[in-house]
């Protein structure tokens, strides 16, 4: 798959915050983490068509794994990131055996139920996770000799590099035969097994990869902020990432990234607004997107510029 010039321009532009907005690097790193989380949801929702209301479960597993690892074993970030990703992937692989068999209401309820179960489990096991107070004592060592500073320079470089690597993996996956099979399942879930494709195995694979990436995003959040709160597993986080992905455009590689940029910048600018009223606008936005822009901003944009054949 060849790179479009706009893609190269976009990734070069992600370096601009280092020069143009050095005081916003912490926000930029939050955006990169959210974008990675949205990208992982895009794999299962946008490409495979599995609706999930509990994707924060894997984000939370990754976040807690990274936190506990640094507290009890070692604070080296890169190994911690890999181990946390594997932990989330393990949970994702186990749950995928159940989840990919269901559709419609049962699927929505099961993903919601798994997410709530993990939230309640983390809340109850307060001896290990700190419960509602959050995990105390997360200590991350410097990354390859660079300290995580107050300005977020290391944090942004680190998050951006991880986001870019995961993006490359996703891009490769989407344009592989597996990616084609996933889109086939999304378009017609009955026909794919009928032509001999092992649909459930494909879905399990995609689900596990998505869980690994969500876990990596969660671990990044822990390592760059040195805290873990119960919020990483909350339903609100699952709902937010869904909104972000839909706003940007599900089923498009850049949908989640664009959505994350818009959502996080808007929330930062309107941060003095009462959260209740912030959700009023989010609700209105959701209604409007579903009604008028069913494929998100990127879908609307690509409808304006028809593809040259």
């Amino acid at each position: 798959m060849r790179w479009h010039p706009l893609e190269a321009a976009f990734w070069l532009a992600t370096l601009l915050p280092f020069v143009l907005a050095p005081s916003y690097l912490s926000l930029a790193s939050q955006i990169a983490i959210t974008a990675l989380f949205a990208l992982s949801l895009d794999l299962i929702l946008g490409y495979a068509g599995l609706v999930s209301l509990g994707h924060a479960a894997y984000f939370g597993v990754g976040a807690y794994a990274a936190g506990l690892l640094s507290k009890y074993l070692f604070g080296e970030p890169l190994t911690g990131l890999a181990v946390s990703g594997l932990a989330a992937g393990g949970v994702g692989y186990l749950s995928s055996h159940v989840i990919v068999r269901f559709r419609h209401l049962a699927l929505i309820m099961l993903t919601l139920g798994f997410g709530l179960l993990l939230f309640e489990a983390a809340n109850s096991a307060s001896a290990l996770t700190g419960g509602a107070d959050g995990l105390q004592g997360v200590a991350i060592s410097p990354l390859l000799g660079f300290k995580f500073d107050l300005y977020g320079r290391t944090a942004y470089a680190y998050s951006l590099a991880v986001l870019f690597l995961c993006f490359l993996v996703c891009r490769r996956l989407i344009h592989s035969p597996l990616g084609l099979a996933l889109r086939g399942i999304r378009e017609n879930a009955l026909r794919m097994p009928a032509i001999g494709a092992p649909s459930l195995a494909h879905l399990r694979m995609a689900y596990t990869v998505a869980a690994v990436m969500a876990g990596v995003a969660g671990a990044l959040l822990t390592q760059t902020t040195s805290t873990v709160s119960l919020e990483v597993l909350s339903f609100g986080r699952s709902a937010d990432v869904l909104v972000i992905l839909i706003l940007g455009g599900a089923g498009r590689l850049y949908g989640g990234i664009l959505g994350a940029i818009l959502y996080m910048v808007a929330r930062d600018q309107l941060s003095d607004m009462n959260p209740q009223y912030w959700y009023f606008w989010i609700g209105l936005l959701l209604v409007a997107v579903v009604m008028f822009l069913p494929n998100g901003i990127l879908g609307g944009a690509s409808a304006l510029y028809p593809k040259r054949q």
Partner: protein, 287 residues
């Protein structure tokens, strides 16, 4: 020991009946149109705030506020169904989910704007206050009233679904919508009426909920999960299933909170996930 078991069963049953009122409308409309309406509890919130407002501001008696709450829930759901929901009947699950979550967000913000974020209270008539004794145990009068009223509503619903022409149309549409249309049944009209009735029952449930579990602006979110559990476990379009699932959920939630308070809501979610894995169409669902 025995006293606490009976007490938990009684309170759980009352709570379950409340959940039944809140969820039965969603169960039937989901069965008919396959429309995933996550905003069902927003209708309950409309009913609850209508009852609080009418009794508090205008001094209506509690019993007169209940039908008003029903009408408020029904009116709001009817307007929304006619203007917005009907455009999305053929949309994907995801679109329906997102759209109705958007409605929930809006309703929560609107409730916070007009009524604030405090817990609302409602004045019940003296004969519903306090408790009475029987067999050496004491029962809350309001909870008994709740159980009796909900069972009466359930009986009325079952009767109208099984014995009236309208009920036959609804059952046909739930069983096979295309066939029902082919036989000349106006499914859209039947659905509109069912949807309004379901919204009204949710509104009634919301009004009855104020004195038992309270009402604040987050109500539409807090009870969404419970209502969805009742619907998913009970099976779509089944009133008996909703009744059984609601009673089961109410009693196990109360028992969990009473005997294992440190586990929180863990037990409920575990029961739901287990039941759904065992029977994805619900306990009494057909498809």
């Amino acid at each position: 020991m025995l006293a606490s078991v009976v007490g938990v069963l009684f309170d759980g049953l009352a709570y379950g009946m409340l959940l039944f009122l809140l969820s039965v409308g969603l169960s039937v409309t989901l069965g008919m149109m396959n429309f995933v309406n996550l905003a069902h509890c927003s209708f309950a919130m409309v009913g609850g705030y209508a009852a609080v407002w009418l009794t508090g501001r205008f001094g209506w008696p509690f019993l007169a506020a209940l039908p008003a709450a029903f009408l408020a829930g029904a009116a709001v759901s009817l307007v929304l169904e006619r203007t917005l929901y009907r455009r999305l009947y053929r949309a994907s699950d995801l679109d329906q989910c997102l759209f109705t979550i958007g409605i929930v967000f809006i309703s929560v913000a609107v409730a916070a704007y007009f009524f604030g974020t405090i817990q609302q209270s409602i004045r019940t008539p003296p004969w519903l206050e306090g408790s009475f004794g029987a067999f050496g145990l004491s029962f809350s009068a309001y909870r008994l009233f709740l159980i009796v009223a909900s069972l009466a509503v359930a009986a009325l619903l079952v009767w109208s679904l099984e014995r009236t022409r309208f009920g036959a149309r609804v059952r046909a549409a739930v069983d096979n919508q295309r066939m029902a249309r082919g036989l000349g049944i106006d499914v859209d009209r039947a659905f509109m009426i069912t949807f309004a009735l379901g919204g009204g029952l949710a509104g009634l449930g919301g009004a009855l909920a104020v004195a038992m579990v309270g009402l604040d602006h987050q109500f539409a979110f807090t009870y969404l999960v419970y209502v969805l559990i009742v619907v998913a476990v009970g099976g779509l379009g089944s009133i008996g299933g909703s009744l059984a699932a609601a009673a089961l959920l109410g009693i196990s939630d109360m028992a969990g909170k009473y005997y294992f308070p440190w586990l929180g809501a863990f037990v409920i979610y575990l029961v739901m996930v287990g039941l759904l894995m065992w029977r994805p169409v619900g306990l009494f669902g057909k498809r």
